[in-house]
């Protein structure tokens, strides 16, 4: 993987008056998505390679990515471009609000691209058509090859302006790519943009790999590998490709996750038939045993402030979710509902824990408050598990498997996402079958 950190220079041009302008409520299922027009970005005539830029339709392509992002939220309804009433360059200067209102648009995005000295300069504006006002305007400078990320960053800024929450478009998903028959799966680590573009494989498939998770800066991944038939937790530097085993454990380590400050990896270590939770400081290499119980303790996940850990244990006899202080004291069971509970993951906002529930042979993805109250099951299926949070804590990505016939045919594993409102369930397209997704944080903060 080449350079992962890309510098963006972002300038706030202006901010409209926050009062009385459009606001999209994302706290409930939105059955009436906001009609929004995304004008193709106008290509400035003083650009280098003007003809090539126009041939590539760079401005239009950026607008199409923005539209796709908006559509995927379920909160916005991007309008068809053939109904657009004004040329991109003129609309960008000042739209004729009443004309855009005629096509029932409530918000309009316009923009301009300039390529000069091998730099891509993009500016965009968001217009409230009802109030006839500019809501926000920003400009970016980056390298031309970064144009897809420009589209994602614009999407994030507009999402943020309209919903009051940070976006999740300039992000990546790491997951396990699966190929081959069900009883001989080949699994590789794969990474792609949130919208499914730019898939890259990070391992070759020579050994089984599972459960990759990003560190807070998205440069490192912790995952489990069966390299040399020694199932262990590993670290992978995405930029350099360098891999290393985490710690020196005399047995299987699994279910790794980073601490919110990125300094530790927390995981399970199985010894003599018993799995307990351990953490390792990546700098000092000091290993700490956090749980000590004859039952299975696994799937640990820190609260965003690092003070607590939720985890999965069968100490009551069956899989349930527990919360403890990060030093292992104050263990408290939080799930008492009918069924089994697994894979707890703390929301980046700290308010909720997402989980997998198994009840009467069906699998559910749900959320509950961190004390176990307010359980809401978002989706039910034959088999699904392993939710991972979008960086703004509004969307979960997970994987779902289908039933296979007596020969193992008909089996598939796919990534899906759902809003925590329980609405907007979506298949996330991947090049191959996929499982164990993990959502990065925002690449540009």
């Amino acid at each position: 993987m080449k350079k992962t950190i890309l510098t963006f220079l972002i300038f706030l041009i202006s901010f409209g008056n926050a009062n009385s302008l459009i606001k999209v409520d994302i706290t409930r299922g939105n059955l009436d998505p906001l009609p929004i027009a995304v004008s193709p970005l106008h290509i400035d005539n003083s650009s280098e390679n003007l003809k090539s830029l126009k041939d590539q339709k760079l401005g239009e392509n950026i607008s199409i990515i923005i539209e796709k992002n908006f559509k995927s939220t379920g909160l916005f309804n991007p309008l068809k471009k053939n109904a657009f009433v004004q040329k991109p360059d003129i609309a960008h200067l000042k739209p004729r609000f009443e004309d855009w209102r005629l096509i029932k648009a409530q918000a309009l995005v316009t923009g301009k691209i300039l390529v000069k000295d091998k730099k891509l300069k993009v500016e965009f504006r968001l217009w409230d058509l009802t109030a006839a006002k500019e809501m926000t305007a920003l400009s970016f400078t980056t390298t031309p090859s970064n144009w897809r990320r420009v589209a994602h960053i614009i999407s994030d800024k507009i999402y943020e302006r309209l919903t009051g929450e940070t976006g999740y478009f300039d992000t990546r998903i790491i997951y396990v790519s699966e190929t081959g028959p069900k009883d001989q799966r080949v699994k590789k680590l794969a990474i792609m943009d949130q919208d499914g573009h730019g898939t890259k494989y990070l391992t070759l498939g020579n050994e089984l790999v599972l459960t990759p998770r990003f560190n807070p800066t998205n440069q490192l991944v912790t995952y489990m590998s069966y390299f040399k038939n020694m199932p262990r937790v590993y670290l992978l530097d995405i930029e350099t490709g360098i891999q290393e085993v985490v710690g020196n454990f005399p047995g299987m380590t699994f279910a790794p996750r980073f601490s919110p400050d990125g300094k530790k990896v927390i995981m399970s270590f199985a010894k003599d038939g018993n799995s307990d939770i351990y953490s390792m400081d990546l700098e000092t290499r000091v290993v700490e045993k956090i749980t000590e119980h004859s039952a299975i303790d696994t799937s640990p996940s820190y609260s965003p402030d690092g003070k607590y850990i939720c985890f999965n244990s069968d100490r009551s006899g069956l899989q349930q979710i527990y919360v403890m202080r990060s030093d292992g004291t104050g263990v408290k069971r939080i799930t008492f509902g009918d069924g089994l509970y697994g894979t707890p993951v703390w929301s980046p906002r700290g308010d909720l824990i997402a989980f997998t529930k198994v009840r009467k042979g069906r699998f559910y993805i749900g959320v509950m408050r961190s004390d176990g109250t307010g359980e809401r099951l978002l989706t039910e299926n034959y088999y699904q598990e392993a939710p991972s949070w979008s960086p703004n804590g509004r969307v979960l990505i997970f994987y779902r498997e289908t039933k296979s016939d007596s020969k193992g045919k008909g089996f598939s594993a796919k990534l899906w996402s759902i809003d925590i409102t329980g609405y907007n369930e979506r298949l996330i397209k991947t090049k191959t079958d996929a499982s164990d997704p993990s959502w990065s944080s925002l690449l540009s903060k």
Binding site: D183, E385, F411
Partner: protein, 161 residues
């Protein structure tokens, strides 16, 4: 659903046992010839460590306890290993596909160790036994059926030299 039905049936059977209505038990067993109390008892997937020494044992859903039949198989393995002192083995622990991945890794490890401990009780040095869990990653039967799941909930003893 069938699996749950079986375990419900098992509980039902236990209740009946306690009230001494033993005749109900044989009825329950006839319901599925290949599993008893949620544990696979058939021979379809079984291979052999040596002549007359089956390589694998089976478990109930979410359980790692050994059945009478499993103990019998493991004693045969122990006898074979005591006679062939140069043989080292790996005990693989597996789970079915109806559980979360990470928990299943732990469960597979627990199952493999249940087998290892029993082998050690019968005189096989722990140094000759390596344990590995594959969780639900290596099903022997790829079907999505209670029968396949019961065949996949297993620990398998494999020669490593």
């Amino acid at each position: 659903m069938k699996m749950k039905f079986n375990s419900a049936l098992r509980n039902f059977v236990l209740v009946l046992f306690s009230t001494l209505l033993i005749s109900a038990c044989s009825t329950a067993k006839k319901a599925n010839v290949d599993t008893v109390d949620d544990v696979y008892t058939g021979t379809d997937t079984v291979e052999f460590l040596a002549k007359g020494v089956p390589d694998r044992i089976f478990f109930a859903t979410n359980k790692s306890s050994l059945t009478t039949k499993s103990r019998d198989t493991l004693r045969k393995q122990a006898t074979y290993l005591r006679k062939n002192k140069d043989v080292t083995v790996t005990v693989e622990g597996h789970a079915d596909e109806r559980g979360t991945r990470e928990y299943n890794l732990a469960l597979g490890e627990r199952r493999a160790n249940a087998a290892k401990d029993y082998l050690m009780t019968y005189g096989v040095s722990g140094k000759r036994i390596t344990v590995i869990s594959y969780g639900k990653e290596k099903p022997v039967n790829p079907a999505s059926s209670p029968l396949a799941w019961s065949q996949n909930r297993r620990s398998v003893t494999i020669k490593t030299n």
